[in-house]
Amino acid sequence: MTATTQQQVFEIIATQAKIDVATIKPESTLKDLGIASLEAIELIFDIEEHFDITFPDQQGANFDSDTAQSLVDAVQKALDEKAAAGEGAK
């Protein structure tokens, strides 16, 4: 059984924030989790690398209010678009 998108995203957040993954709730904001400015950009990079996706430029720019769930949703959206665009789309 492969991990769900949410589990994978939460694991990446936990690693970046150096916190226990169990403490992350869908409604936690990045700010709540102690992730600010540069760490947030690194987090976006880690997620993009992990899923081989690219977030639109302005997405994830508001680190104060973005929640863990909004990141999961953004990943899912990007994965769906990638699947729709067909295999090998990068």
């Binding site: 400015s37 430029d57 302005q58 720019a61």
Partner: protein, 410 residues
């Protein structure tokens, strides 16, 4: 600093290569017209980049014009810009460095954020992309950060203190301040100084994309719909001279570089601090012997990022108190883009122009002022008004602040 500086500093020459064209006048005229040089990114790899817009030096710039064949192969694009701008500045100053040993009494201090990035990028592509075993033999002399300063020194036989200054987006202002201090304290009579940058390479553009601070439309400083900064390139080079020296030879003085302030935030590597910026502005005022109410115009750092514009506004309030509301504040980056290590130099052309012509260049693309930005940003149209003294702000990644204070020529 205790006591008054020994000597006053005059600016007697300026030159620029900018996205608004070749020459300081092309830059100043473009700014006065509120003309933005930001356009679609012209790059061989544009198709695969997410960066869509940039402020680039137009193709009409001919790097080979008036540069001898033996020098040309030594030059990265950064040094090409710097040498052309220096030639314009030196010509305007009317100085002859060969006479009276002036070359030995002349410093060359040029700011650049990264130096020979085009060279670095080309050689990396060759080595890692094409698996070549050989780098070009002139790679080092092209890419070294001091290349521009050294080429200027060689071109005019300038044998005083010569080196580069690097402080990311504040490089030009830090370099200009260093040059002014040399003159103030008698280490040189003349200094050639400014900043140069040419780093719109594939690698650098990818790195900026990853930081997620680039606008995808245009640069809209202080506007509620701003989406980030727009990268630029170019060089601004100036001739500084002790006031005494300039007056004795009857030189035309463009402006007085009256003071400066330099501070570090010592907080975050990228997030700016209002306190750090405000203390640099206060220092510049004190150093120039200016009261807040003596200043009419601030050329803002004004990058168009969410963080800068609000923080800089706060900093101006902190430094100027009640007078903040009476200042004209504009960001010319809305027109010439963010030329990083050259930005303070391009903006000094604007500051000098404002003092000389009593015209404040506008903030272009200012659709709707952000409620968190509550100063007079001179939206979209230049303003004729008396300009007695000016501050020019540069704030860099790394939390480094460098502010110039200028007065009208005496």
């Amino acid at each position: 600093m205790q006591g008054r500086p020994v000597r006053r500093v005059a600016i007697t020459g300026m030159g620029a290569i900018s996205p608004l064209g070749v020459g300081a006048n092309a830059l100043w005229q473009g700014l006065c017209e509120g003309r933005s040089a930001i356009g679609p990114l012209q790059h061989v790899d544009a198709g695969r980049l997410r960066v869509k817009v940039a402020a680039q030096v137009p193709a009409s710039f001919d790097p080979a014009a008036n540069i001898d064949e033996r020098t040309l192969p030594m030059l990265d694009r950064t040094s090409e810009f710097a040498l052309h701008a220096a030639r314009e500045a030196v010509a305007q100053s009317g100085l002859d460095f060969a006479s009276n040993g002036l070359g030995l009494r002349t410093a060359v201090i040029v700011g650049t954020g990264v130096g020979g990035e085009t060279t670095q990028d080309e050689q990396s592509r060759r080595l890692y992309g094409e698996n070549s075993n050989r780098a070009h033999p002139l790679t080092i002399v092209r890419l070294m950060t001091n290349a521009s300063a050294s080429q200027i020194s060689i071109a005019w036989g300038l044998r005083g203190p010569t080196f580069a200054v690097a402080s990311a987006c504040a490089s030009a202002n830090h370099a200009i301040i260093q040059a002014a201090q040399m003159i103030r304290w008698g280490l040189a009579d003349v200094a050639i100084t400014g900043g140069t940058e040419a780093c719109l390479t594939y690698g650098a553009l990818r790195a900026w994309e990853a930081m997620r601070v680039l606008a995808d439309d245009t640069c809209r400083p202080f506007s509620v719909n701003r989406r980030g900064l727009v990268l630029g390139e170019g060089a601004g080079i100036f001739v500084l001279e002790s006031m005494e020296h300039a007056q004795a030879r009857g030189a035309t003085i463009l402006a007085e570089l009256a003071g400066s302030g330099m501070t570090a935030d010592a907080t975050d590597i990228v997030m700016p601090s209002a306190d750090g910026a405000a203390s640099a502005m206060r220092q510049a005022l004190d150093d120039a012997g200016l009261a807040p109410q003596d200043v009419d115009y601030i050329n803002a750092h004004g990058t168009g990022t969410q963080a800068n514009d609000v923080t800089e506004t706060k900093a101006i309030h902190l430094a100027f108190g009640a007078h903040a509301d009476r200042l004209a504040v504009s960001s010319t980056k809305s027109m010439h883009g963010h030329a990083l290590g050259a930005s303070g130099a391009l903006e000094l052309v604007a500051a000098i122009g404002a003092l000389r012509d009593n015209v404040v260049p506008p903030t272009a693309n200012l659709d709707k002022v952000d409620p968190a930005c509550d100063l007079d940003y001179v939206p979209n149209v230049a303003r004729e008004m008396p300009v007695r003294a000016v501050l020019s702000n540069s704030f860099a990644f790394g939390g480094l602040n460098a502010v110039l204070a200028l007065k009208r020529a005496p």
